[in-house]
Symmetry: C2
Subunit: 316 residues, 2 copies
């Protein structure tokens, strides 16, 4: 089977490709390397299992180039990974999220490719949802521009399912963390301690509390669910069983890095930035009902991630 992974050189994409190559798929990667790194998948390229198309999802022509390579299934993971950016630059999520997803489904229609998995996010639920939040929560009113682009992507895909006969798996991710992470709170904390081991500034009051899922669990869940769920449109939350606070993350990172004398300083307020959701926990009963369960809960995933990112980033 030949699959296309958009954003395949990125954090989650590269882990997914490890699995796809492992099960014997041929993989085409479409990535503009804006946040992904070729090094993440270089071994698979060298082995001839991955073909890299250096292109931009904002260009239908670039997407068509990759889509026309006899693709069976698309894993659409490419997106702007920096949620906070939307508070300063408002067209990034529209173009790299919404328009990019339009280009993907439109290229699928033109090339008669029928199966797509889409990386959506828990942030589509917005603020004030019951926790744990089930897939059938409504109305979904995202408060970040990133969340708006993920919701728009979901809608585009569901309309292509209803109008042009696609089959889709839409995954609403918890906070996905792990090796090769290129953004996010643990990544930021390590970089801050690298710059100044004596203090760690935390955005907000540290009481923000979210569910964390290790990236290996995430990509295993994707592939498992796709083998068990066979509706035209399949919607699944992917997350772990519990949550962790930002305070807890700061404590773990300080411990793992050995910067135990660092003073942890909070900027205050209930959220890190406008558009940040202070508390989020996904209902994962639907995922569990497929027979999949995670290997790590939030605390373990955070400790694991801090350990591997420390190796990747270094403190010197």
């Amino acid at each position: 089977m030949r699959v296309l992974v958009t954003g395949g050189a990125g954090f989650i994409g590269s882990h997914l490709i490890d699995r796809l190559v492992g099960r014997g798929d041929n993989v085409v990667v479409l990535d503009n390397l804006s946040s992904g790194q070729l090094a993440f998948i270089q071994n698979h390229i060298d082995d001839g299992n991955v073909v890299m198309v250096n292109g931009d999802l904002r260009s239908l022509e670039d997407v068509m180039k990759a889509m026309s390579m006899d693709i069976d299934t698309v894993f659409h993971l490419a997106a702007n990974p920096d949620i906070r950016l939307g508070t300063r630059v408002t067209n990034t999520d529209l173009e790299q999220g919404t328009v990019a997803t339009y280009n993907v489904v439109e290229a699928m229609r033109r090339c008669d490719v029928k199966r797509i998995a889409f990386a959506s996010s828990s942030v589509v639920y917005g603020e004030g949802a019951p926790m744990p939040t089930p897939e059938n929560h409504g109305p979904c009113m995202p408060i970040s521009l990133y969340g708006a682009s993920k919701q728009a992507g979901e809608g585009l895909i569901s309309s292509w399912v209803g109008t042009f006969g696609l089959q889709a798996w839409v995954f609403r991710f918890a906070n996905i963390i792990g090796a090769r992470g290129t953004h996010g709170v643990i990544f930021d904390f390590i970089h801050k301690l690298k710059a100044d081991p004596s203090r760690l500034e935390v955005l907000g009051n540290g009481l923000q509390e979210k569910s964390y899922m290790e990236v290996g669990d995430c990509v295993d869940a994707i592939l498992h669910v796709m083998q068990t769920a066979e509706e035209p449109l399949n919607l699944y939350n992917l997350g772990s069983h519990d949550t962790a606070s930002v305070r807890r993350i700061a404590e773990i990172v300080v411990e793992v890095t050995g910067c135990t004398d660092a003073s942890i300083e909070y900027t205050g307020g209930d959220r890190g930035w406008a558009g940040d959701i202070p508390k989020a926990r996904l209902g994962i009963e639907k995922m569990l009902a497929t027979g999949f369960d995670v290997n790590m809960n939030s605390d373990e995933a955070i400790r694991h991630t801090a350990t591997v990112l420390l190796q990747e980033i270094g403190l010197e």
Copy 2:
């Protein structure tokens, strides 16, 4: 108060402007007259109560031009009105819906305009929702490209509420019908009978059943809800109490037009086109709880609309 009505020369927009001018507002209209008609609002322009900006919502520059005219509240009604078009042309709803809405909220941010009412649609709910469908139904999985663009518009607006402090009223419309209609099933039926009074072709099996709301009720509901609902983001279904089948509409149109000898012929299938929702009925308890009720239910609204559109279109 000075308000901006996008799509103000259109079907619903022009009725809204009748009310806005009636209550003493100054109105700026932004419309490219692609489906709207200047004649619908010419009287208000002549009276000096409406300023017309002939511009395209796809251009941020055009939207900025209208938005910079000291606007207090935006009524964002402009959109591609032809849902079926998405089955043939896939970028219309993306550009005239999603990107246009981005330009509206972005121009609001730049011009510090804080209040927006948005015309969304019952089609965001997708297929298989419980009926009557309440506002908190989830997940919303639209099956038409038009529905996807309305959902994307909702998400953009809610993210601007959450990130940049807008206040918004999002209205999910039932099928809005009435004078000056420029599309839709009654409009189509009269045009078909005008072309051939001996037969009326009906798309689908005629058992499609939806809720119809007279446009005067719709614009009254918008203004009433905006005066009573004061949350940062207010979401309301707008519709009537009941539904009517397409068979019933065909019978009423045949009767009103006097084409009583016309044979009504069904193309078959449970829907008019791919992406059409066969049955839809909105829960309107939330609207009713504001103290507003409709003057017409579906049958009355259809008969009224057939009568006035017959006068506007004519059979000769």
